[in-house]
């Protein structure tokens, strides 16, 4: 992909990344490359290290061995945007969709500067892009699971991030809303950004990813969905009870 017209375009490579907890390897020698404008699904069973991988990429966990490299056109701050798992968000905190999207401007605002006209316009534009213009004043607790995820994507857009990490974004989101979320992510991908979405739920949408990384503490397979969803890989992921998932989503 020609990235010159996309300031947020990026390439990312992980080389031999190993993460340990108390002497046990949570991730072992993970190596893969993601090109600009890729929507990648990271699939694997619970405990496969999907969240650990995202935390290592985001710099939240120390990498014992190997390295994560990000090449991006825009050298500004806020390259990575993290959409957290539902449990790690403080839903008791009373913020509106607009407030959350404005959080993406934090690193551009600095310490004392208040949001200006451009910041507010950008927030409105990003909410519009994810189809939530009419919900800008709604509290986050008043939104559905799918709408909340789209607010987080809008926050990543105002942050002008090059890489979006969505951890279990389909959790608690119904099938229709999952479809809507993937459509939004595809438009984000079309701007040259990298979108990584972790899921343990192999729904029909798995075939909609450009690339799929099959992870079970190590890379079992990485490539287009029709190449990686083989019975052999499924068995490596889910053991003897592994499911056969074709690109069409038939089990």
């Amino acid at each position: 992909m020609n990235t010159t017209h996309y300031p947020h375009a990026a390439r990312m490579s992980l080389q031999d990344v190993t993460v340990e907890f108390d002497g046990h390897k949570a991730l072992s020698n993970v190596t893969f490359d993601v090109g600009a404008g890729t929507l990648m699904g990271v699939v694997g069973p619970n405990g496969a290290g999907k969240s650990t991988l995202f935390n290592a990429i985001a710099g939240l966990l120390p990498v014992r061995q190997g390295k994560v490299t990000l090449h991006r056109v825009d050298k500004g701050s806020g390259a990575l945007a993290y959409v957290p798992q539902r449990e790690s968000v403080n839903w008791r905190f009373p913020v509106t969709a607009m407030d959350v999207v404005m959080m993406g401007r934090c690193c551009r605002l600095g310490w004392c500067r208040r949001p200006g006209k451009r910041d507010r316009e950008l927030v409105d534009a990003c909410l519009c892009r994810v189809g939530l213009s009419d919900h800008r004043s709604a509290l986050m607790t008043e939104l559905s699971g799918g709408q909340r995820q789209r607010v987080f994507v809008a926050r990543a857009l105002t942050q002008e991030a090059s890489v979006l990490l969505l951890d279990e974004a389909f959790s608690g989101v119904d099938a229709g809303a999952q479809e809507g979320l993937v459509e939004v992510l595809q438009t984000v991908r079309n701007e040259g950004r990298i979108v990584l979405l972790a899921t343990h739920d192999l729904t029909n949408l798995a075939g909609r990813f450009d690339q799929v990384l099959c992870l079970n503490r190590r890379v079992c397979a990485c490539g287009p969905p029709d190449e990686v969803f083989t019975s052999e890989v499924m068995q490596q992921l889910y053991g003897a009870h592994g499911v056969r998932l074709t690109v069409d989503g038939e089990r």
Binding site: L60, Y82, F93, V95, M103, C106, C112, M140
Partner: protein, 272 residues
């Protein structure tokens, strides 16, 4: 009616108490809004107890106990974070350990010192009516500093309070913001102790903010409503204490609690 409000102010101590109650009524709930929404009430309670050694040192050294307590509060707030991270313990556990240890240290210092005479009741229940001009100036300075701090850190505090992991990914500033917030919390508690005492300062920190949480939607509105409720409770409590010869701290606490009870009865926010 006017006499009810004006007459007490002929006394210098009442005028100082009124200024002190307004400052505490504004400052505690502003920070308390974060305490309530970030589930930090135990941390607040612990800090209120843990500053005791600093206050005792102040009495011994002959300096204003509020000024002496500030570094202790700040040190304990920072220590809680360090102990949780280093020992891999939950924040609650670290708070429990440090809070008990520091309060015990303060009590030992009080019991062994032969040079100071402190009324424990004043310390535990506050002495708003005896607040000194120096304490008023210290309170005013801290109030201004805390309001400026909250203004400067507003967006980062919102981010870190709502989505701590996402904020941490965005930058190392989140850690700085958390430490600065704990420092502000310690400052506010030290000032609140003078008005309401070690035990009842929690009422000014938590109750008006919790009341506001039930009544308004957005966080900024919650901060403003909390400050208004806190001021109303503090001033009303002060006048009640004067006219009915009651201790000021408990009177303020009861007024704040009564407003909270009304808010629960007419709540707007559905439980999360």
């Amino acid at each position: 009616m006017i006499e009810f409000f004006v007459a007490p102010l002929e006394y210098g101590f009442m005028l100082r108490a009124l200024i002190g109650s307004v400052l505490v009524g504004v400052m505690c709930p502003l920070v308390g809004a974060y305490v309530v929404t970030r589930n930090l009430a135990f941390m607040g309670d612990a800090l209120a107890h843990a500053v005791l050694p600093g206050m005792v040192l102040g009495f011994i050294a002959g300096i204003n106990p509020a000024i002496a307590a500030v570094p202790t509060g700040v040190a304990v707030a920072v220590l809680v974070r360090i102990v949780s991270r280093r020992a891999g313990l939950s924040t609650d556990t670290s708070i429990g350990i440090l809070f008990a240890a520091m309060f015990a240290l303060g009590l030992v210092m009080l019991s062994t010192s032969t040079t100071i005479r402190v009324d424990m009741e004043d310390l535990l229940l506050g002495q708003l009516l005896g607040i000194s001009p120096t304490s008023i100036y210290v309170s005013l300075g801290i109030t201004v500093a805390v309001i400026l701090g909250l203004f400067a850190l507003h967006h980062w505090l919102l981010f870190a309070s709502f989505d701590p992991v996402g904020a941490q990914v965005l930058g190392r500033r989140t850690n700085i913001v958390d430490y600065v917030f704990l420092v502000m919390l310690a400052l506010v508690i030290v000032i609140g102790i003078q008005a309401a005492g070690v035990i009842l300062v929690m009422a000014m920190l938590v109750t008006p903010a919790a009341t506001a949480y039930l009544l308004v939607r957005r966080f900024v509105s919650m901060m403003i409503a909390a400050a208004l409720i806190g001021t109303a409770a503090a001033v009303t409590g002060l006048y009640i204490s004067y006219h009915f010869n009651l201790p000021a701290g408990p009177a303020m606490t009861l007024v704040a609690s009564a407003i909270f009870a009304l808010a629960v009865a007419f709540r707007r926010r559905a439980p999360v």
